[in-house]
Symmetry: C2
Amino acid sequence: MLIGLVQFAPRIGEVTSNAEAMLEVAANAADRGAAMVVFPELSLVGYPPMDLLRDDIVREKCKLALESMASRLRIPALVGAPCWEDGTVYNAVYWICDNQWTAAGRKVLLPNYDVFDESRYFQAGVECSILRFGGMKILLSICEDLWAHDADLKYPMDPIQKALDAFGQDVQFILNMAASPYSIQGVSRRAHVLKTTAHRWDLPVLYVNQVGARADLIFDGGTSVTLPGKDVRGVCPNFVPACALWDTDLNQCADTIIWTNNTLVSTFTLNTDRQDPWKGEVVLGHRFNPGEITEALCLGIRDYLVMTGGKKVVIGLSGGVDSAVVLCLAVMALGAENITALLMPSGYSSGRSVEDSMELCRMHGVAYQILSIEESFRAVIGTLNAQWDEQSAALTEENIQPRLRALFLMAYSNQYGAMWLNSSNKSEAAVGYSTLYGDMGGGLSVIGDLYKTQVYALAAYWNSLKNWIPVSILLAAPSAELRPGQLDSDSLPPYPLLDALLMDCIEGGQDEGGLIRSGHDPELVRRVLGMLKRSEFKRYQMPPVLRVSSRSFGRGWRRSLV
Amino acid sequence: MLIGLVQFAPRIGEVTSNAEAMLEVAANAADRGAAMVVFPELSLVGYPPMDLLRDDIVREKCKLALESMASRLRIPALVGAPCWEDGTVYNAVYWICDNQWTAAGRKVLLPNYDVFDESRYFQAGVECSILRFGGMKILLSICEDLWAHDADLKYPMDPIQKALDAFGQDVQFILNMAASPYSIQGVSRRAHVLKTTAHRWDLPVLYVNQVGARADLIFDGGTSVTLPGKDVRGVCPNFVPACALWDTDLNQCADTIIWTNNTLVSTFTLNTDRQDPWKGEVVLGHRFNPGEITEALCLGIRDYLVMTGGKKVVIGLSGGVDSAVVLCLAVMALGAENITALLMPSGYSSGRSVEDSMELCRMHGVAYQILSIEESFRAVIGTLNAQWDEQSAALTEENIQPRLRALFLMAYSNQYGAMWLNSSNKSEAAVGYSTLYGDMGGGLSVIGDLYKTQVYALAAYWNSLKNWIPVSILLAAPSAELRPGQLDSDSLPPYPLLDALLMDCIEGGQDEGGLIRSGHDPELVRRVLGMLKRSEFKRYQMPPVLRVSSRSFGRGWRRSLV
């Protein structure tokens, strides 16, 4: 039997059009011989639906959509959708077959950590359920239901075991419908769970995940089949909507359909001159796959633009590596014709930074404007100093510069309908080495979940394939150029030290004692933790950050402001 | 027997100093004859502790603090604190007595709506527990445990009933230890729950709540005793740390201690010339108590300053009612000497708005500076127009003005170490009638949870007692003054219509169909819901908003950006 495993890209809250898209995919799969199709977790409403689940209109739309699907589907389908029942809501999977639709499974393990808040919205199911179809018994599980044995999560029971104990005779395979976002650390953890699950129950695991980006969250897909004792076998390319037709008799993929004309598809290609030299190097103690991160961030940019109805972006180029990397990502995601770069020198900007920025734009065919902030800066300072009985302080003047640049970027954004892409990195955001309403602004933070060291690694990787970024940008010592001769290293520890410490603290969850035991310098630990705590108020007003780590700033990071 | 009911103001994460403060209060109560003291929910770590609960160092500090309290307390105490047990955490109450400390109760009903995320952090207890002390049986409950019968919350069981069924013979009273934040709508709901609980079980309910503000959340206190069949009797003044000594034999309050020298105490007094004329009028369909709201917001401002280590604030005065109200609140909370007002006229500002703002400052003895944005505006426009091949559009120029004002306010903030208090109201924030990095900026949004209609009502109330705000500010038609003759009514529906609709939608949770059924104009409903949805990205980057409603923007409002 052929089963269509659909790596689907729903839009949040767009219930009716999500249902239409699923019907189209199902028809396509039916044409190619599929006996049934499987869509990921919460495909009908998108993930995460958040407070939408409390709107009566959403409930009504879901009901109508399921009815419509039931009457129009040519083959049966499993569809992830909320199930409102007895005054509560389940994160459920519907079995749509023979003009009927029924909630066939309810998610048992609800994640409530990092970016997940499922207990806020959902009631937990009791155990995984079994679907009988075409002479087969299929165990239905939803995302976190696979993670019962994770040492960190400490779940009290295994809903798969419970279902197998109760009805488990002759189950053919375990199906997992997921909405599992991408992270650098998550890819290998997910593979490990799929492999151990297949091994533990001696059953194939069919895994169907969402794809596409929704604001901060990027879904990579990773739809796969894992046979007991074998490695995870990806059956759809990552980062694009696709459908794999899996043959349950032959245990192999019969066909894969990719929707390249879908507007959500990332067309990222590096157009490399040279062979990919990357051998799975480790950066900051973690496997670092720059090609994968590039694709994830490109998808994040593109989908955010598509879903907010925009096409064009504007980027402020400083001559540093961060804004250069953001520009390259935008070029890959949107094409040079949709980008304008603003070069906004002051009296403190070096000739190098302006020339390198122009060179970068020329290399990629990106239009740029040079808008000096000098005249505006002098006007602002003039007005202030005429009123103040003391000279404006160095810090005051330093902060005025990025704020004027933000003002220019937003003026461009208002004038030409372009979204300003933020260029801050995670190291700066963590220690507050950044200006609120200045370089911390923008519609979307593209690399706000990459430490400076990782930003350099990404740039170095691209340059190893093709000349993407002028070498002098990579070689220049990091500087905010807000006063003569200023260097980041005047105010911050060296980035490799800082980033390793931050990674252990933020992603690793280590506190002061833990960081010192891990070998970080005690004085540096206290200094950095102090900076991290004191800059919470700046991060509170940050734009959404494309999440590529297991702990990004934004909704997954919840620290008190006081 | 005398029980000290302590309306306590812990600081989030300051475990050691919270314990010291509790020891001092307990000693004071003991001196006055108390046999035991009761502190509110999570008094040891503050509320909400959020991700702090995952730090090993916090767990360790809690253990040490409880040990220290056990060895030093002269009378027994009930203290709200997290209980780490078997790899999970409970929201617990510790009984500290005879040098011992034990988790005597665990919160059963965990709220997961609005600003609450307790299932994210806590494991639920099974039932309320009974404490035996001094020949009495006391039923211990924690905050939400009282709310089992609330129709909206739909809890499946009543943990108080469960405990009374199991061990309920001869219980003397129900104790509830809470961390329940203030809201305009919440005061009467809380009173209703206390009254029905006392009536249902025919037992007195002793209620002990936190006080003080923690960033967005304001705790009013409201510590009370409710006897069966009687009204709720407040035993501590609201908005200040206090301890009531309740006599369980006589069923009356023997004494109330108020800590006026505590830096967290609000010293708000309106210094009224006339008698309070307010008779519990209704604004936007809800009971509106302007004196209470004034106290809540003053406490919110003051505690945020205290807890972030600041003293001084800066406020931009536009000549409109919003910034005038924020200035008055700051005067009441901090004293005029800690405030600077910036008047930042442009060519579009009316003479009236500047003169009224100066008059307002003179009335309150607040220092002000006039910093015209005109020269800076011309410099910015000059730079832009020299590069752009089209004239800058009206919208571009309109937005540059509030952004220059934000730049001046932040320059003042950097120069003089003053926090910029934001003056946006909830109506503007809801429909996006505001400029990101302009009037939406600031360290704290003071009236961002009050609709424009409520802001007027607050101002009218103050003016009915004393001349607080120049009448011409209240009479002027609302205008952003960003182009000649501009009025809010050019872009927005009349505020009474708009605010009533927003209130039904945001606080009332009504969707499109519900709003139309409630009698709102269908066209207006669709227009306003569209504006609400499209401005989500602006609110994402708002400062923390002092919460005074049952649904404020910020952590309790979770809508997708896409």
